[in-house]
Amino acid sequence: MIIEKAEITEQKRLADNVFSTVLRTGIAKHSKPGQFVMVGSGSEAHLLRRPISICGADGDKGTLRLVYRTVGYGTVELSERKSGERVDLMGPLGNGFPAERAVEMATGQTSEKITDQTSDNTAEKSRILLIAGGIGAPPLLFLSGYLRKAGVKKEDITAALGYGSALPGLFLREEFEENAKTIIATDDGSAGFKGRVVDAAAGNNLTPDIIFACGPYPMLKAVKEFALRTGAEAYISLEERMACGVGACLGCVTKTLKPDSHSLVNNARVCKEGPVFNACEVEL
């Protein structure tokens, strides 16, 4: 865990209320997809750091990218900072996605799915499915880039991206297209499939081995059902109000089916044991 003032090197608006901030920080070298940073405000009236998931990290350049929606004081303040200004960062935090597991499944020994595909031609080849709902997309973009660098073929990754509407802009879509086949869903039908992103993925007859998802709770519930139906492993990234971000305050917990390792009471810390959980191990 590193705590430091990081310099902003790039500040961009991607869509209505969605911003991309790149910072120079030692945190980049240690960051994995699915992890997050706690961003401090400059205001003495707003003392809690805000958890923001990492959208990309370049260890060699030492740059970390955050993509976030402005929802309150902390994120608005971050979006208004200029290049060259410094921001108080703490991270990387949380467990991250089990990316190695996906790499192993997609590049390793012949799996049962491959023989399935020869017998069932209608099932589209897709081994890794990323499902993003709105501002849940950034950590999955980081993951898609990581998977590609680890040798996973683009055709083995599908990214299903859900947005409210295409009008404010389908942020990060083009970047996903570099790493994965993409499926777009919008609530209002202004682009791609009209309706829920999980239904869009299901409608494409995908039979993934492993699913990674981040988005609002109703979407994560649908992901869990989809995973149970298709027999895929599913890992979901949860969001919760946090105070410390490191596991000390027990402010952010989620109900687990088994006793959690910290308190033995089926209440795992989202910031420490998570934010990524096996969908079958949490109550949604």
Partner: protein, 309 residues
């Protein structure tokens, strides 16, 4: 002050020496484990653990925390693994550090406090006990003792008989007369008192028409409550002879010295650890700098310099 002589910032509470007067407030630092990677625990006056009950406690539903102006509300509900796991994991971890360990004890009933205290008997790594009679987020027990001076005195007395370590009684600010509560703790045999715990508060999300916390109410902490805390430390310190550990919204050395001058022998940093995990270390340095700049050789010279007694 003699030239070349080291400024003395160590303090003594109930016969226990603290290398400096700065510790964390219970519940804001775990048992130090989560911060140890970044913060050198050996430099702290003490680590005060999160509340420990006899059995694991579930805590409250989420959301458990909400930011408020210069502060925050919390209603964690004392989620903890219970005393057995605490001894096995947390105290073993703390054995690797040269700092005092104060175990915060919580329970629903008198019997539950006694169970924890008796289980901790004979364990050398525990230097002191802090009795949590002031958490506003647990429905039964706890706070019930903290709001009634007669009950507070009785339960303190019983626990004192069972304890083999000095006992600190942590007081709730949610009372009309803090002096009365301080005197009750002293009468029950407490070796020290600590205050203030959080102040009961509420926040409403007007857009969603709901409470910000699932528990509806929560405990307010942070700089927003500091003037109330300083006032209560001043009143409590003036009412008793036992040492006082002061806390409530401390963010820097200046804040800490306010508490010392109001009558606290030591101070605790709570919410500000979330903002700046290094804040306790900075506060230790800032206290020292203040003493040196003002030619004060011993921190004891400012403790209670404005207190009533």
């Amino acid at each position: 002050m003699e030239k070349g002589k080291e400024t003395k910032i160590s303090v003594n509470i109930a016969g226990i020496r603290f290398k400096n007067p700065v510790m964390n407030a219970s519940g804001t630092f775990g048992s130090g484990m989560e911060y140890a990677e970044a913060v050198d625990l050996n430099k702290l006056g003490a680590v005060v653990t999160k509340g420990v009950s006899p059995e694991p406690w579930q805590g409250n539903p989420v959301p458990r925390v909400a930011e408020t102006p210069s502060g925050m509300l919390n209603a964690i509900g004392l989620q903890n693994p219970g005393v057995e796991k605490f001894i096995e994991r947390d105290l073993s971890f703390l054995s690797g550090y040269d700092t005092n360990v104060i175990v915060n004890v919580c329970g629903h009933t008198e019997d539950e406090y006694l169970k924890v205290v008796s289980r901790l008997k004979g364990i050398d790594r525990v230097d002191m006990l802090e009795l949590n009679f002031s958490c506003p987020n647990v429905k039964e027990g706890g706070i019930a003792f903290g709001l009634d001076p007669v009950k507070l005195e009785k339960v303190t007395e019983k626990i004192k008989r069972e304890a083999d370590k000095p006992v600190i009684v942590k007081l709730s600010p949610n009372v009309t007369d803090i002096s009365e509560m301080a005197r009750a703790a002293e009468a029950g045999g407490a070796d020290a008192i600590s205050l203030i715990n959080t102040i009961t508060g509420m926040k409403i999300d007007i857009n969603r028409r709901c409470f910000a916390l699932a528990n509806i109410t929560g405990g307010l902490s942070g700089p927003a409550i500091r003037p109330i805390a300083v006032r209560m430390v001043y009143q409590a310190a003036g009412a008793v002879k036992i040492p006082v550990i002061g806390m409530g919204g401390i963010t820097n050395g200046e804040d800490a010295i306010e508490f010392l001058m109001a009558g606290a022998t030591a101070v605790a940093v709570g919410m500000y650890n979330f903002r700046d995990p290094f804040s306790m270390l900075k506060i230790i340095d800032e206290i020292k700098e203040f003493l040196e700049e003002n030619g004060i050789g011993d921190i004891g010279e400012i403790t209670g310099c404005l207190s009533k007694s």
